[in-house]
């Protein structure tokens, strides 16, 4: 029997090399060091210096950690690079199925008059602000010619139920015309004020999901969302309960928008969602579009105050989960998916290149086509930067291959944008050209001045620290991703 050689005999025979890494100081002596597929490692300053200086030897512990996280490789080895390449491909696989989401703005009319309305709703003039049947059919033709195997059609407004007959027509036509092998999903984004048995029967028969707005307890919700009768909250909660029993608990979801009046009331808002047995909550900041700008709602609180609101809410939600109730915060869940897995992300605002056009197309009531929902919000304010074309003349190819979209998408790669390219959080983040165009007049923007950037960094930092420092919280957070 030949002898065995000891461990030292298998030390690398060639020199080490540093793979592409980025780092960020989290605390005075704690750094997040990340490769470009998100294998983050938390290191002290001294450890970071040693990794960067390749001052590592097998058996010292740091060599092993850095190797496992694909931060270093031995010269001549191929596997570390192949793993990085394969995983990057996986993280960006959303590009293989462009434009899964198609938003139909079936009307801009609404019976609510929310001061934060981001779409600049109208209260009158059916002729002018409803989508015509002809426009809808053209939009459907574009949507059904998009490549993905599952096409999701979302009805937006205004209040889309004000044009319910058109929704019926679109769903029926889509079912009839869908190419064989393609699946269809439908969502109506509605305030539920006009929900009735007809609508519920229709949703049940056609597997239509409902998505609604719920800002919190009655006084807060009604203050944020005025309507004649001041009964928005009552109609929304009754609607949620009716939809849950008629369609199933998982067939309706709710979204909240944070206003200045919400800032001190995060627990109450979350309790309202729990009371209604909703399956989670999305703690959302206000976006800088539509009436939110015109009525100066957007400027009423800063990013810092929203973050305080978010963190307080997240910790409250974690406690709820630790007490045994599965109740995710959906924004954290999206980011955690980026942190903990290489699953390509469907969420259009957390992609690079950006989700404009490639993630979604928006068919406006007047036949104009936009690269994102926020893009049409800007257009209502007079800014047509993200308008790609018109259904009267365009088809899917001409929209998606338009010079305008190609230029906007091409400029949106966070991997090579100033600041983002060297940011340790980049693998977890995405590119939001509409936001930066709206706030800074430039689709890339100056990231140190960007509230989007500040918000992303702070939430990511919070999640990374929770994952590392608090095993109980980490177990909850991981549970949200693996479900």
């Amino acid at each position: 029997m030949a002898g065995f050689r000891d461990a030292a005999a298998y030390n690398p025979t060639a020199g080490l090399q540093l793979l592409p890494i980025r780092f960020e100081q989290l605390q005075p002596n704690r750094y997040l060091v990340n490769n470009f597929v998100g294998d983050g490692l938390l290191l002290t300053r001294q450890e970071l210096d040693r990794v960067v200086g390749l001052d590592l030897s097998p058996g010292d512990g740091l060599y092993e950690r850095a190797f496992e996280k694909l931060l270093v490789s031995v010269k001549g080895q191929q596997s570390q690079l192949q793993l990085l390449a394969m995983r990057l491909r996986s993280r960006m696989a959303f590009l293989q199925q462009p434009t899964a989401l198609h938003i139909f703005v079936v009307t801009l009319r609404c019976e609510h008059s929310c001061p934060y309305c981001q779409v600049s709703r109208r209260c009158v003039d059916r002729e002018r602000y409803d989508m015509s049947s002809d426009t809808a059919i053209r939009a459907l033709r574009v949507a059904l010619s998009a490549p993905p195997p599952t096409i999701k059609i979302e009805f937006q407004g205004g209040e889309p139920l004000l044009n319910f007959p058109l929704i019926r027509q679109i769903v029926e036509t889509a079912r009839r015309d869908v190419p064989s092998g393609k699946m269809l999903e439908f969502v109506i984004a509605t305030n539920l004020a006009l929900l009735d048995d007809d609508v519920l029967d229709f949703c049940r028969e056609n597997s239509v999901l409902l998505s609604t707005s719920l800002d919190g307890p009655a006084d807060l919700h009604n203050r944020n969302r005025p309507r004649p009768g001041s009964n928005s909250h009552q109609l929304a909660t009754e609607g949620i309960r009716r939809a849950q029993s008629a369609l199933g608990r998982d067939r309706i979801g709710a979204f909240m928008t944070t206003t200045e009046a919400s800032l001190e009331r995060v627990e109450g808002i979350i309790d309202e969602y729990l009371k209604l047995d909703l399956d989670g909550i999305f703690l959302r900041p206000l976006s800088p579009y539509g009436f939110a700008i015109k009525t100066k709602q957007f400027n009423k609180y800063g990013g810092r105050e929203w973050l305080k609101f978010y963190e307080r809410g997240l910790r409250y939600i974690l406690d709820i989960n630790k007490n045994g109730r599965h109740f995710p915060e959906f924004y954290a869940t999206l980011l955690l998916k980026r942190i903990l897995t290489d699953v390509p992300i469907g969420y259009v605002d957390l992609r690079s290149p950006a989700g404009i056009g490639l993630g979604a197309l928006v068919y406006n009531y007047d036949g104009k086509v936009f690269a994102s929902d926020e893009g049409r919000m800007l257009a209502e304010m007079g800014d047509r930067t993200f308008e790609l074309g018109d259904l009267a003349t365009d088809d899917y190819r001409s929209l998606i291959l338009s010079d305008k979209l190609i230029e906007l998408v091409g400029g949106s790669l966070s991997q090579c944008s100033p600041e983002c390219a060297s940011c340790a959080f980049e693998p977890y983040c995405g590119s939001d050209p509409v936001y930066h165009h709206a706030t800074q007049g430039d689709p890339v923007g100056i990231k140190p001045l960007s509230e989007f950037c500040a918000r992303q960094k702070s939430v990511l930092r919070l999640l990374i620290e929770l994952l590392d420092d608090s095993p109980e919280d980490a177990a909850v957070l991981r549970g949200w991703v693996s479900r």
Binding site: A7, A9, Y10, P12, G59, Y63, E64, S79, S482
Partner: protein, 391 residues
């Protein structure tokens, strides 16, 4: 604890048969002889009369089971009653000259495995089947012939080594024959995966188009020098990872296997995290207790760790893999040394012929779903072994 004997020497061989190793399929005497390779199992005089009626020319007798005259048979092998487990449909290789024989296939077993070669380009510290540098190319020929005698209803067949892919094309031809002759049989090949770093090998493997072919490939750590040390081969980690990526790129089934011992267990958590992040698409991950035999005995000092001492890391690793949606199992470890959170993935993985339980297991309430122990080598007993009473 003693393993089932699978090879031995006949006490006597009689008959007129020509010398030379040959394959024989054991048949119950009442079945008709269908093939030149068939040999009748004789357990009593009635069998002998029946074998004559059925036209058998060869017979196996268990020692003194008959005193009758058998001179009319071309071949009679008298073998030890320890082998009387042999049954209809089993296959053995016998050299009439020396009387030496080996049981190659047991129809009633789920653990039929063929050793393809004793040669290997690894020299693993814990190898249960220490490699030898020998010219044993004849083994592939024998297995190829044996495939003709195997029951097509057999659920699964394993191939091991040595490193089976060192036989390259000849081994791939053998797998092609498996697909043609035994299309219903699942095939599990234990390989170090390095050959697949070469795209032509991975492509040839994929082009067999076998409906249920698995490559079971070991990764002992996510760190190059640790894996290379365990397998005693510089550069092995790099090639093995590339091999797995190539196989998966071609849609082939891959099981990743990690044997737990004192060199691999300290980074078990990190290794599982690495599996979850880098190889979540593999079809199965097996986290395996050590079989204390072969080289593992020689290297006991550096390999032994009581499984109780890595049980928490194992539970955490399993949890990580589950969360990533990876199909994971724990092999070869009795339930009493495992955290209860992994009991549902702890399987009875030890092959029937070398599986045993301890006297202390008598009063255990979960014995019948426990892996038990290897009866091979010199089993080391964890301090955590105890009967479970509250199930």
């Amino acid at each position: 604890m003693r393993p089932l004997p699978l090879s031995g020497t006949a006490k006597a061989i009689t008959g007129t048969i020509e010398p030379g190793r040959r394959l024989l399929r054991l048949r119950a005497a009442e079945t008709g002889a269908v093939d030149e390779a068939d040999i009748a199992l004789i357990r009593h005089d009635g069998d002998l009369a029946m074998a004559r009626v059925r036209g058998f020319t060869k017979a196996v007798l268990f020692d003194d089971s008959s005193t009758t005259d058998v001179t009319d048979f071309a071949l009679v092998a008298h073998i030890d009653p320890r082998f009387d487990y042999l049954a209809d449909g089993d296959v053995m290789a016998l050299d009439p000259g020396s009387g030496r024989f080996r049981v190659l296939y047991r129809r009633g077993s789920k653990n039929n495995t063929f050793l393809v070669t004793e040669r290997c380009n690894h020299y693993c510290l814990m190898c249960s089947q220490p490699p030898r540098k020998v010219n044993d190319g004849w083994i592939v020929d024998e297995i190829t012939a044996c495939i003709d005698l195997i029951d097509p209803a057999t659920q699964s067949i394993g191939f091991t080594g040595g490193e089976p892919l060192l036989e390259g094309r000849r081994f791939l031809s053998l797998l092609t024959k498996m697909r043609e002759r035994l299309p219903e049989t699942s095939v599990h090949v234990l390989t170090n995966g390095r050959a697949f770093a070469d795209d032509t090998v991975a492509t040839a493997w994929a082009e067999i188009h076998h409906p249920d072919l698995w490559a079971g490939i070991p990764i002992y750590a996510a760190v190059d020098h640790i894996h290379d040390y365990v397998v005693q081969a510089q550069g092995a980690f790099d090639e093995t990872v590339l091999g797995i990526l190539r196989l998966k790129d071609k849609g082939q089934r891959v099981e990743v296997r990690c044997v737990l011992h004192a060199i691999t267990a300290p980074r078990l958590k990190e290794t599982c995290e690495w599996f979850a992040r880098n190889l979540p698409f593999v079809d199965h991950v097996a986290l395996m207790g050590l079989e204390n035999t072969g080289f593992a005995l020689a290297n006991q000092e550096s390999l032994w760790i009581d499984p109780v001492d890595y049980a928490d890391d194992l539970a955490s690793g399993v949890q990580t893999l589950r969360a990533a949606g990876v199909n994971v199992s724990v092999y070869n470890l009795p339930l009493c040394v495992l955290d209860r959170s992994v009991w549902d993935v702890a399987v009875q993985s030890i092959s029937d012929w070398k599986n045993a339980y301890l006297p202390v297991c008598e009063g255990c309430s979960v014995r019948d779903r426990c892996s038990g122990f290897f009866s091979t080598g010199r089993p080391r007993i964890s301090r955590g072994i105890r009967p479970i009473s509250d199930q």
